[in-house]
Symmetry: C2
Subunit: 210 residues, 2 copies
C-alpha cells in the first residue's frame, strides 16, 4: 500500500496554486481563497507552512528564490517540480476515479438517533431541512450569477455540491414525513426507551445475537 507522501488535502490545493507560476506561501493562500478552492476541500490555513515544507521535502516543490523586500521576514518563492506536476495529476486521478467511503458526520448522527427519542429527532430534522434549503438557495443563486461569467468546467464542483445537497434535503424530508405520519412502526417503544432507558425486549434479543 503506497501511501501519499503528503496526505493533507491542502497539499493538493497548494500544488494547484503554483501550477501556472511560482508563488510564496501567503500568495498561494490568496489565490486559493480567490478561486474559492477553500469551499471544495477542508482547508486549515494554520497548516499552510507545514504543508509547503513537506511538499518541498518530498521534491514536489522547490525554492525558486528568496527575496528580502524591505524589512519584512524573508519570503521564499516556491515553484512546482515535474515530480510535483506528476503527483498533482495522480492525486486528482485517484480522487476522481475511485470511490472511497467517507461517511459524512450526519450519517454518524443518524446511526445514533436512538438516544434522542422521536420528538427531539423530529425537531432537529426540521431544523436541518431549513438549513439545507437555505444552502440550496444560496448555491442556486451563486450558480445563476457565475454561469454567464465562467466556462462550465469551472462550475462543475458547485453543480455537484448543489445536486448532493438537494438529494440530502429530499431524503431528509421524506424520512421526516415517515416519522411524523406514523408510518414508522415502533415509535412508541422508542419514546419509552428514551424516557425510561428500558430496552424493549425484542430489540434486546436482537442486540445479543447477530
Amino acid at each position: 500500500m503506497k501511501r501519499r507522501k503528503v496526505g493533507n488535502m491542502l497539499g493538493l490545493a497548494v500544488l494547484s496554486a503554483v501550477l501556472d507560476r511560482p508563488r510564496h506561501p501567503y500568495e498561494m493562500a490568496a489565490v486559493l481563497k480567490e478561486r474559492g478552492k477553500d469551499a471544495d476541500m477542508p482547508i486549515k490555513w494554520g497548516s499552510l507552512y507545514t504543508v509547503v515544507a513537506n511538499l518541498e521535502k518530498h521534491g514536489f516543490l522547490e525554492a525558486v528564490e528568496s527575496r528580502k523586500d524591505g524589512g519584512r521576514p524573508e519570503r521564499t518563492v516556491y515553484g512546482i517540480t515535474s515530480a510535483g506536476r506528476e503527483e498533482l495529476e495522480d492525486w486528482v486521478r485517484e480522487l476522481v476515479g475511485t470511490v472511497e467511503k467517507e461517511p459524512p458526520r450526519f450519517q454518524a448522527g443518524l446511526s445514533m438517533v436512538g438516544v434522542l427519542g422521536p420528538d427531539q429527532t423530529i425537531a432537529l430534522l426540521r431544523q436541518r431541512i431549513e438549513q439545507l434549503t437555505e444552502r440550496i438557495e444560496a448555491q442556486r443563486a451563486m450558480l445563476e450569477q457565475l454561469r454567464p461569467l465562467l466556462p462550465r468546467l469551472f462550475l462543475v464542483e458547485v453543480e455537484y455540491d448543489l445536486a448532493m445537497t438537494e438529494a440530502e434535503e429530499r431524503w431528509t424530508h421524506a424520512f421526516l414525513g415517515e416519522l411524523t405520519s406514523g408510518a414508522v412502526p415502533g415509535i412508541d417503544a422508542w419514546r419509552r426507551y428514551h424516557e425510561t432507558g428500558e430496552i424493549p425486549d425484542d430489540v434486546g434479543e436482537l442486540l445479543e445475537e447477530e
Copy 2:
C-alpha cells in the same frame, strides 16, 4: 466558540458502546464492529486507547474496575458517567441538527479535473460509475437481508447512505453524458490546454479579474 473536549468521532462511538453496560476498551471495539458502527464513521482503531483515556480525563467515562484475569495485562473496565451521557446526546443533537459543509474528496477532485484533460476525465468517470453501481447493489442486498431482522430505526443510516450513493451515481452519469455527447462547450480548448499547457486567452483573462 465552545469546542468539543474530545473531538475524535471514535469518542462518540465509544460513548455509545458503554451506554448499556461498562466495558473494557477491547470489548468496545468488538461491539462497535459487531454493530457495524465502523461503517458509519471513519474509525482508526489505533486511536482507541488514546481516546478512551481522553474521555476519562474529561469525566465522560470512569474506571469501574480493573481486573487481572490470568497472566494478561490488566484490563480496565470503563463505565459512562452522567456527564458522558449528556455529552453523547448533545453531540448527536449537533450532528443531526446542524449542517456543516464537509466537502467530499470527490468534490476536490472535480474542482481540478482541468489538469487531467477531457479524455482521461471521461475514462475515470466511467470507472467511478462502475464502483458506485457495485456499491449500490451491495447496499441494496444488505438492506433486503436486514430489513426483516431489524427495526427500521436501525437501518436509517444505511438507507441514507444508499440514497446518497444513488444520487451521486445519477449526477455523475449525467455529467459523463454531457461530456461524451459534446454538450459541454470548450472541450477542444480544454484538450489543447492539457496537451500544450497553454491557457486559452479568454480563460486567462477570467483568472486575472474576479
